[in-house]
């Protein structure tokens, strides 16, 4: 059997690693934009090959898979899906595990995801509003902040995935800081408008959502369109630096286990989260008429208004969350892929270890994420025997293997170290002990987050989960879960969700 993977990050290295452990003994081929040293080695050891090429170009991918005569293609990152790689492959009769272009809208367009939730009245929603331009956003907020207080504390996002544009979380609770917070919001609207101007295919460019607080976690799932199978919860850490400070990154490390839910998330919350993801898969299939076969994930948060809530959706596995999940997976990964392709996931027994907690820590070169150019091109030295001796695993990320056999940094997250133990803190300590095994030979610095998986950070997560839980359970008991009521002097009681639904229906009726 021949399998081809697409993508060159740590997530894809972990996928390749898991494939190499399969009883099917597949020959492993790969296409990535960078020569990932880990994937390169696995391909070579398994009668395959890693080739570099544009992973978003359907022609490149189809040509290679035909040339290699592969049986299954597995797509790792989101961009190939956005660009219709699975569609192109299936048109050619090549089996592909990965969300097709239309289905991947749940990740590509944050605004469409919210509309889907509200149109279908699915649980786990947040209030939102989209705007055509910065002016419209600023005017709307200024005009309505008095009668719709949720507009004070907001998350600003590009309405669709847009090169490098991040998310801004703005809490505007303190009257004395209101002016500066308002100015910051409006300046970011301007900046989003400028960067989104290039996309003429969509009308709405700016997305504003109600800001929620609480512990975040990812629920990654396999689906064949009929069945959605959940995997253990994983918590990623998005801030660059210790104790959740500093700029937003792709993810600096993640924790999972030893059970299906995380130590601070209940089994009931897990079940509810899975229902929410199932609901999204069902709704997007209904809307597009396409069948979803591949990976899907909810980036969730426990919130005071809704309990488990979707922050964003993945149309793929998370990076680094995939590493945790794959480390816990006991079922043969190739069996999983075959069951997805043959639409018989309901018959598959998906098994995970319940003995090991998994910690993953990402190592990034100084300069990431704000000055990637500076972070690029530094030669890497890795002491593999040390890593193995300490019982850790290394997954290469944004690194490029040169012809001389040396790996250099690509400017983004370089690699991830993973360790397992019965609980999280000792696994975290094991990685800390191993960190000195990774160096840049030109003296440029590397950093990682030592706090991930530590007692201290876990206690903080636990505490925040308990606080939110008390609030949403209160709402559950009082029948107000998911409702947002405001009482405004001289106006009376208003329900911003009703306003939102009315606004969503408005243009449709007119049209």
């Amino acid at each position: 059997m021949r399998i081809m993977g697409v993508g060159g990050g740590a997530r894809e290295h972990a996928l390749a690693w898991k494939m190499s452990l399969s009883d099917h003994k597949p020959e492993i081929f790969w296409i990535a934009e960078n020569r990932n040293p880990g994937i390169h080695k696995i391909c070579k050891d398994n009668q395959g090959e890693l080739r570099t090429g544009r992973t978003t170009d359907p022609k490149t991918i189809v040509r290679s898979s035909r040339g290699w005569g592969v049986d299954i293609v597995v797509v790792g990152p989101e961009e190939p899906g956005f660009n219709g790689i699975p569609d192109a492959l299936e048109k050619e009769g090549i089996h592909c595990v990965g969300a097709s272009q239309e289905l991947s809208i749940i990740e590509r367009s944050k605004a469409d995801l919210r509309r889907l939730q509200w149109e279908n009245n699915l649980p786990g929603k947040l209030l939102f509003r989209t705007f055509k331009n910065a002016r419209e956003a600023s005017d709307y907020i200024r005009k309505n902040i008095g009668t719709q207080p949720w507009l004070q504390n907001i998350v600003i996002k590009p309405a669709r995935q847009s090169g490098g544009k991040g998310v801004k979380l703005i809490e505007d609770r303190l009257a004395h800081l209101h002016e500066n917070k308002g100015r910051f919001k409006e300046a970011y609207f301007d900046s989003l408008q400028a960067s989104m101007a290039a996309y003429s295919d969509i009308e709405d460019k700016i997305l504003v959502e109600e800001k929620a607080w609480g512990p975040e976690y990812s629920l990654q799932c396999f689906t064949d369109g009929k069945t959605v199978l959940g995997t253990p919860l994983v918590q990623d850490n998005k801030s660059a630096h210790e104790f959740d400070s500093g700029p937003e990154t792709g993810g600096m490390g993640s924790i999972s286990g030893p059970d299906l839910a995380l130590p601070f998330i209940t089994r009931d919350e897990y079940d509810k989260s899975l229902k929410i993801v199932e609901g999204i898969v069902e709704a997007i299939q209904k809307k597009t008429g396409k069948s979803y076969h591949g990976m899907v994930g909810g980036q969730m948060m426990l919130t005071e208004n809704e309990g488990p809530t979707i922050i964003e959706m993945y149309s793929r596995l998370g990076d680094p969350e995939a590493l945790n999940m794959l480390a816990m997976l006991k079922t043969d990964i190739v069996d999983v892929f075959q069951a997805i392709i043959e639409r018989r996931l309901s018959k598959l027994k998906l098994e995970f270890t319940n003995e090991d907690a998994v910690v993953v820590k990402v190592v990034a070169p100084n300069g990431y994420p704000e000055k990637k150019e500076k972070a690029k091109g530094h030669p890497v030295q890795v002491f593999e025997t040390n890593i193995k001796r300490n019982g850790c695993y290394l997954f290469w990320g944004n690194a490029d293997l040169q012809d001389n056999g040396e790996a250099v940094t690509g400017g983004s997250r370089l690699l991830a170290l993973m360790a397992t133990d019965h609980t999280l803190p000792p696994a975290s300590a094991l990685i800390e002990k191993t960190m000195s095994s990774i160096q840049l030979t030109d003296g440029w610095g590397l950093y990682h987050r030592s706090d991930i998986g530590s007692e201290q950070l876990l206690a903080k997560r636990w505490d925040s989960a308990e606080r939110v839980r008390r609030l949403y359970q209160y709402r559950e008991e009082h029948g107000t879960l998911g409702r947002r009521m405001e009482w405004i002097p001289k106006v009376g009681t208003i329900d911003p969700s009703q306003l939102l639904l009315k606004e969503m229906q408005g243009p449709e009726k007119a049209g």
Binding site: K165, G166, V167, K168, L169, I170, E171, R173, L174, H176, L177, E179, N180, R183, F184, A187, Y188, S191, K238, S239, A240, H241, E242, F243, D244, S245, G246, P247, E248, N366, G367, E370, K371, K374, G445, Y447, Q456
Partner: protein, 433 residues
Amino acid sequence: MPGLVGFYTFGEGRENWDASHFIRYGLGALQGRGQESISLATVGPGNTLHTLAGKGGVEDFFEKNKTSIPKGFIGIGQTSSYIDDYLVHVKTPYELVLALDGKTDLHENRREASKLFARQLSQLLHSENEPLKATSMLVNKIGGGYSFVALTHKRALISGRNPLGVKPLETGSVGFDIAAVASETCALDVMGIDHTGPVETGEVIMFTPEDIRGNAPAADAGNFCSYEYVYLARLDSTVNTLPVAKARNSIGRELAKAHPAKANVVIGVPETALPIANGYSQESGLPQEPGFVRTGENIRAALEPTQKERLVGVQLKLNPIKSAIENKDVVLVDDSVVRGNTLRNTVLNLKRNGAHQVHVRIGSPALVSPCPYGVEIPDADELISSSLDEKELANHVAADSVSFMTVEELQRAIGLPRQNLCMRCFENGGAKR
């Protein structure tokens, strides 16, 4: 004693943050540490340090200088109880401004000692290519007891506590955009920033456009100032992970256990001693009543510059509520006694207004030595407890009894190990017993 604030921003759009605005409110929350002299510095897109300094208080300073407040998206600020105590600005070889709470041992004079520290830091940043390591070595080398925040023209913010850790410093962050340090957590709260934990003893944390990085903290837990818990820190702050309100309540309870009094009512001297009186009341079962209403600003009597102002301050501050004390025996709870003026005025005031017996209970041991790390505790010859014992002091202030806590009682109440608490002001030389 200064209060420090450092404000740092990341990411796209950072130029839209107005650091001075956050610093203003952060310093406002720290005014209890002093408000004689205010100064701040910011740096923006141009990599130029802008500074401003002047007389306090914080609100007056910012209102008066509305048009000249330095603009920038990164900044530091200091509010100090000392006259003309401003940020130290070093221009060469490496330009930086420094705010420092406490005292380094580089010079007898606190101000000179801070200047020398700033110069050494500037020299190191200029000559060393690993600034974090260099600063960490400096902090381990230079003794004294201090916390500091420095800002460089290259937009690096460097904060740290020396291994003794006698002076507090706390960190916080919010969203992906803002990180901060401040002497007390109340300043972070007011700036809308979530507290993430203390800067550890011997730890240096450096914020640069690329990074936030810390060195390994000292192995020793440090020697925290116990007077922070008694009097200095604001009630809504957490100092070294211990909530101040909790510490003050337990000081009151310990005081009631060790120094009971026969009385009808417990009255606390506003503001600091109120939660101590509350703890005393809870433990003793005696009711606590509000005893005074303050007129005018919350002036910390012991920190006032001249004797005259101090007397006026006291009278304005404490107008007794007569019905609460008339014909009653009163336990009067205060946090500490410096020169005894406040206490004398207060006791006399109570008796003139109808209180029968007044038993004074102090929520700390007698102050007998000045603070080597810059807290304004006067020299020993100005401290009444270095010459009068409890009985003599009672006679002096016209109280029916006066009791201080012992060092052991205070340590037990705070709940930290003895070796981790600095109690030099209660010990060296010793109280007259």
